[in-house]
């Protein structure tokens, strides 16, 4: 019996879909069977980021309305030997095409066959959000270190606390180290004390994430990027390993800096 995790944020554009695609990929790379569900009906794009957009035959609404079996709608990602599947959203209807009860039933059914089910939630707190949360066992809240995103995350956490039993966990995305050091961006401590939930991981802002998304290859597949390592670490934490948070500074201390540090100077 698998576990269903919803990835949500309240605010749009903070990286829910990118996070879902990358965590899915990273968990599959750990050898677990993963199913991603895109619940952003009418504005789907998880398939684009995964590079699976031209293989879609059936979608979420077809499954819910009984036009096909869940297995027929699932798109297999060939890069991961049958470990990563996507259930795409419909592009032609809107959020009201599905209701929370149907979603719960579908997720419960999929939990039989998969270790992890990641549900990509649309922005907002309306019908689409309610659908996405309905079947989830726990939630990951994605935010960026900006006041507006943190405010919306706070609202979502308040709503989640009334729904799911486990407290949600936090991913801080798109961290820009130089802005955080100069104090122009909220720092990690500020965000976590404000939201007061556990931090699951931090991801630095990396231009390669955008390039990778455009190519349809999640950044996690590229082992050199910092964002990729961050997503892999988060995936391992989801699987229950304890991995320390990665350091933010770009350069490793030089030989002389190390010596100065030993001597107690800056």
């Amino acid at each position: 019996m698998g576990e269903a995790i919803v990835i949500t944020s309240g605010k749009g554009g903070v990286g829910k879909t990118t996070t879902t695609a990358n965590l899915g990929t990273a968990i599959a790379m750990q050898g677990k069977k993963v199913c991603l569900i895109d619940t952003d009906i009418g504005l789907r794009n998880l398939d684009v980021i995964l590079g699976l957009d031209n293989r879609i035959i059936y979608d979420l609404v077809d499954v819910v309305e009984g036009r096909c079996k869940p297995n027929q709608a699932l798109v297999k990602d060939k890069r991961f030997d049958g470990l990563l599947y996507l259930l795409p959203a419909a592009q032609t209807s809107d959020k009201s095409a599905v209701n929370p009860e149907q979603m719960k039933e579908l997720v419960d059914q999929l939990k039989q066959d998969y270790d992890y089910i990641l549900i990509d939630c649309p922005a907002g707190i309306e019908q689409g959000y309610k659908n996405a949360v309905a079947g989830a066992d726990r939630a990951i809240v994605v935010t960026t270190p900006e006041r507006s995103a943190v405010r919306d995350a706070d609202r979502i956490i308040g709503l989640l606390e009334q729904e799911t039993h486990e407290p949600p966990v936090l991913i801080i995305n798109r961290i820009r180290n130089h802005l955080m050091e100069s104090g122009d961006m909220l720092d990690i401590d500020e965000v976590t004390t404000h939201l007061s939930i556990d931090l699951l991981g931090i991801v630095v802002d990396d231009d390669m994430v955008i390039t990778a998304s455009n190519k349809g290859e999640p950044i996690t597949m590229n082992p050199d990027s910092k964002a990729s390592i961050a997503y892999r670490n988060i995936a391992k934490r989801i699987l229950g390993e304890s991995i320390p948070l990665m350091s933010l500074s770009d350069e490793k201390p030089t030989f002389f800096q190390k010596i100065f540090k030993l001597l107690g100077k800056k």
């Binding site: 405010r151 919306d152 706070d154 609202r155 956490i157 308040g158 709503l159 606390e161 939201l195 007061s196």
Partner: protein
């Protein structure tokens, strides 16, 4: 029975007879002549209903009768009897409700009495209380004390960094630039009818009624 005091009249109503009889009696009593004071000031009257329960409509009717018969100004109507609802309401207003956790953006907590929060109020969150608000944590959202009109209500917080503070019908917002720490502070309405934020220690002087424990030192 009518009694005169230096503040005006006290009309004591018979609480043993029926309401209709009472009205007749009242009209009769009030038709007795009396001279209005020369300075033309309206004379106040207080009505004591004894053990009689008067509904809102009946109260209004009696006010009308007294006002029409003699131009007396009805100050207040006292009765020894209140409804169960009213009694429960009064108990709730005196009660202190408490909560642990965080009041997050979009959440509104409303209580009729005092409110104790062990946790923070985040921006966009709101607390409304009929009485005082005590926050063991950081207030970053909106707090509205005395929201049914109680002007003596106060707001106390371990960290006072509110978006807005409201007490009764007054409102105040945080200054745009403020780098001070604001630990252990309280907010209240001062004698100039404005909300002020001050150190916690001043409360003892300004709101002595808040101390209910006796003895000790």
């Amino acid at each position: 029975m009518i009694k005169g005091t230096k503040d005006g009249f006290i009309l004591m109503l018979n609480d043993q007879c029926g309401y209709e009889v009472l009205k007749e009696e009242l009209i009769e009593k009030l038709s007795v002549q009396y001279k209005a004071p020369a300075d033309g000031q309206a004379v106040k009257a207080r009505i004591e209903a004894g053990n009689r329960f008067l509904t809102e409509e009946q109260q209004e009717e009696i006010r009308q009768i007294v006002h029409q018969q003699k131009s007396l100004l009805v100050d207040d109507i006292y009765s020894n009897v209140i409804t169960k609802d009213e009694a429960e309401q009064r108990v709730r207003e005196k009660e202190m409700s408490s909560m642990t956790g965080i009041v997050r953006s979009g959440q509104v907590i409303e209580v009729e009495g005092d409110f104790l929060l062990v946790g923070d109020v985040n921006p966009g969150g709101m607390i409304m209380a009929g009485g005082n608000i005590y926050i063991l944590g950081t207030l970053r959202g909106i707090a509205h004390a005395g929201c049914y009109g109680k002007k003596e209500a106060v707001i106390v917080a371990s960290q006072m960094l509110p978006a807005q503070i409201r007490i009764a019908s007054k409102l105040n917002r945080a200054p745009d630039q403020d780098d001070e720490s604001h630990e252990m502070e309280c907010a209240y309405i001062d004698d100039r009818d404005q909300i002020v934020v001050d150190r916690l220690q001043v409360l003892r002087k300004i709101r002595p009624g808040m101390t209910k424990v006796e003895g000790g030192i």
